[in-house]
C-alpha cells in the first residue's frame, strides 16, 4: 500500500495542490469580490464605499465574514428543512465543481509532471464538462426556491429555470464556432491555438461569437441586467428570500464563483488565455515564464470581472419578456448565423479575418431587419404587437 502510494505521489500531489488552491481561493476571492464590488458601486455612484475597517476599508471583507459566521441561524417554520439546507451547498458545490477543468495558469499541452495550474488537465471534453456542470447550478437555485415554500421564492426559481434553459442554447451555439476552428474541446488546446500573434485571438475573428457568448454567460450568472430570479422590486429577494446568515452567503459565493468562471472562460476562449503580444508560442517550463503567464491570465480575468461589475451599475434590468425575446429572437439566430459563417470560412479555407468584417455587417443587418419587421408588425396592429403589452394607460 505504502509502495503504491509512493508510486502514485508524483501524480497525486499536483492535483491535490491545485484542489487546495481552488478551495483556498474561492472563499477569499468571494469575500474580496464583494468588497471590490461595493467599492466600484460606490465610485460609480459618486460615493466612497466601505472605508472604516482598516486602511481604505480593506478589512471590511473580513469583518463581513466574521459577522456572517456569527449570525443566528434562522430557520423559518414553513420550509422543507432538508432541501432548505442542501440547496445553498449544492449551489456552491456545482459552482466549484465547474472549476475542475479550468486552467488558472499556463498549462502546457503535453503534460509533464509538476504543478499544472489545473485540477484535471487534458480532459478532452473539458468545455462540455464545464457547461454541463455549471448549468447544474440552476438546480441549487430551484431547490432553494422550492424548499423555501414561499411564492416569491418559487417565482424566482421558476424564472431562473426558464432563463437557464433559454440561455444555454446561445451559450452552446456561440462556442461551437471556436471549437470548430480549433478542432478540440480541450480548453488548453483552444488556448494554445490562439498562441500566435495578437490577431490569432478568437476575439478578432469571431466578435459575434464573443458577443453572444458573453451576453448569455452573463445571463447564466444571474447578474444584474439579467438578475430576474432575485429581483428585489418584484420578488422581495427571489429564491433567497428565506435564507440568511451563512446559507445566504453560500448562495452568493456560488454567484461570485460563477462570475469568476465566466470571466476565465471568456479570457480562455476569446482573449487568448495566457498569451500576450511578446508572450506567444508554447508554454516553457521555466518558473519565471510560468509566473508571468499566470499574471497575464489573471490580469485579463480581472479586467473581465471589472467589466461585469461595471455593467451591473450601467444597465437597467430586463423585463422578463424582453429577456426571453433577447435570447430567442436575438442571440439564437445570431449564434446560428455565426456558426454557419464559421463553417463556410473553414470549409472553403478563406482567410479567417474575413469573418470579423462579415460579423459586424451581419450584426447591423440583423438588427435593422428585426427593427423593420417589428415596425411593420406594429403598424399593422399597434395594440397587440407592442412587445406583448397592449399599450400604456396615460
Amino acid at each position: 500500500m505504502i509502495e503504491y502510494m509512493k508510486e502514485l505521489w508524483p501524480i497525486l500531489w499536483p492535483t491535490l495542490g491545485a484542489i487546495g488552491v481552488i478551495l483556498a481561493f474561492v472563499p477569499i476571492l468571494g469575500l474580496y469580490m464583494t468588497f471590490i464590488e461595493r467599492k466600484i458601486a460606490a465610485y460609480i455612484q459618486d460615493r466612497v464605499g466601505p472605508n472604516r475597517v482598516g486602511p481604505f476599508g480593506l478589512f471590511q471583507a473580513i469583518a463581513d465574514g466574521i459577522k456572517i459566521f456569527l449570525k443566528e441561524q434562522v430557520i423559518p417554520d414553513h420550509v422543507y428543512t432538508f432541501l432548505y439546507f442542501i440547496a445553498p451547498t449544492f449551489s456552491l458545490m456545482t459552482a466549484m465543481f465547474a472549476l475542475v477543468v479550468m486552467p488558472f495558469g499556463p498549462v502546457p499541452v503535453e503534460y509533464e509532471s509538476g504543478f499544472r495550474y489545473v485540477v484535471a488537465p487534458g480532459i478532452d471534453i473539458g468545455i462540455i464538462m464545464m457547461f454541463a456542470i455549471s448549468s447544474l447550478s440552476a438546480y441549487g437555485i430551484i431547490l432553494g426556491g422550492w424548499a423555501s415554500n414561499n411564492k416569491y421564492s418559487l417565482y424566482g426559481a421558476i424564472r431562473s429555470c426558464a432563463q437557464f434553459i433559454s440561455y444555454e442554447i446561445p451559450l452552446g451555439l456561440s462556442i461551437i464556432g471556436v471549437i470548430a476552428a480549433t478542432g478540440s474541446l480541450n480548453i488548453e488546446k483552444i488556448v494554445a491555438a490562439q498562441g500566435g500573434s495578437l490577431w490569432d485571438w478568437n476575439l478578432f475573428w469571431q466578435p459575434l461569437a464573443l458577443l453572444v457568448f458573453f451576453t448569455s454567460a452573463l445571463a447564466e450568472t444571474n447578474r444584474l441586467p439579467f438578475d430576474l430570479p432575485e429581483c428585489e422590486q418584484e420578488l422581495v429577494g427571489g429564491f433567497h428570500t428565506e435564507y440568511g446568515g451563512i446559507k445566504f452567503v453560500l448562495f452568493f459565493l456560488a454567484e461570485y464563483t460563477h462570475i469568476v468562471t465566466v470571466s476565465f472562460l471568456t479570457v480562455l476562449l476569446f482573449f487568448g488565455g495566457w498569451h500576450f503580444p511578446g508572450l506567444t508560442g508554447p508554454v516553457d517550463a521555466s518558473l519565471g515564464g510560468m509566473l508571468l503567464r499566470t499574471f497575464v491570465l489573471v490580469a485579463k480575468v480581472c479586467g473581465v470581472v471589472l467589466f461585469i461589475m461595471i455593467l451591473r451599475w450601467a444597465l437597467p434590468r430586463f423585463r422578463f419578456d424582453q429577456l426571453m425575446g433577447l435570447a430567442w429572437k436575438g442571440l439564437i439566430p445570431l449564434g446560428l448565423v455565426n456558426l454557419f459563417l464559421v463553417a463556410v470560412v473553414l470549409t472553403l479555407g478563406l482567410p479567417k479575418h474575413l469573418l470579423a468584417g462579415t460579423a459586424v455587417l451581419l450584426f447591423v443587418a440583423a438588427m435593422i431587419s428585426t427593427y423593420q419587421l417589428q415596425r411593420t408588425l406594429n403598424q399593422s396592429n399597434p395594440r397587440v404587437m407592442n412587445g406583448g403589452i397592449r399599450g400604456v394607460s396615460v
Partner: protein, 207 residues
Amino acid sequence: MTTKSKREKTVKWGEEPKIGWMEAMYLPAVMSGVATAVRHALSGKPMTRQYPEVEPEIPANYRGVHRLNRDEEGRVKCVACYMCQTACPANCIEIIAAPAPKDDPHWENRDKYPATFTIDELRCIYCGMCEEACPVDAIELTSIYDLTGMTREEMIFDKEKLLSVFDKTIQSGQDPVRTNRGALGPASEEAETAKQGPPPPGRGRKG
C-alpha cells in the same frame, strides 16, 4: 375587439416610445451606459460626507430636541399654562404646575411655575406644535439632531435636562430662528387684540 367597453372608450391608450434602429442594436446604448459609469467612477468627486468627523450644517429652523428657555433672571420661562401639553398630538409632555414660592424674592413677580416638566423624546414626533402653542416662547425645538441613549429612561427629559439643553445651545450659538426673544410673544398680541374688541368671525382663536 368586437364591443368596446366603457372603460375602453374612456381610457386613452398610449404607445411605447418608438426606438430607432441605433437603439434597437443595444450595443451603442450599452457602451454609452458603461462610459457614463466609468466617467463617474473616475471623476473622483464623491458626494459623501464623512459623518461623525464632518457634521452637516443643520438649518436653524430644524425641529430637533426640545429646550426650556430661561428668562433674564435665569428662571424657567415656562408659566405652566399646559398649552403645550394640550396641543401635543403625541401626548408626550407631562407638566405638574405649582404656585410660585411667594416669599422667595426671586420668584415674586411670577404666579405659577412647572414643578416638573417631562418630555418623552421617544414618543415625540417633532411636529413643533408645543412650540407654536406656547404663549411665552418657553419651549423651543433646537437643531440638535443626534439624540441617542442607551435606555428608554434616558430619553425621557426632565426639567433640568431641558434647561441644560437651553444652556448648551445658547453657548454654542445654535439658537433656533423661531425664537422671538425680547418681544412678549403671541399672548401679548392677544391682549392687544382684546382691547380692540372681538375678532372678526371665522378668524379668531377658539376658546
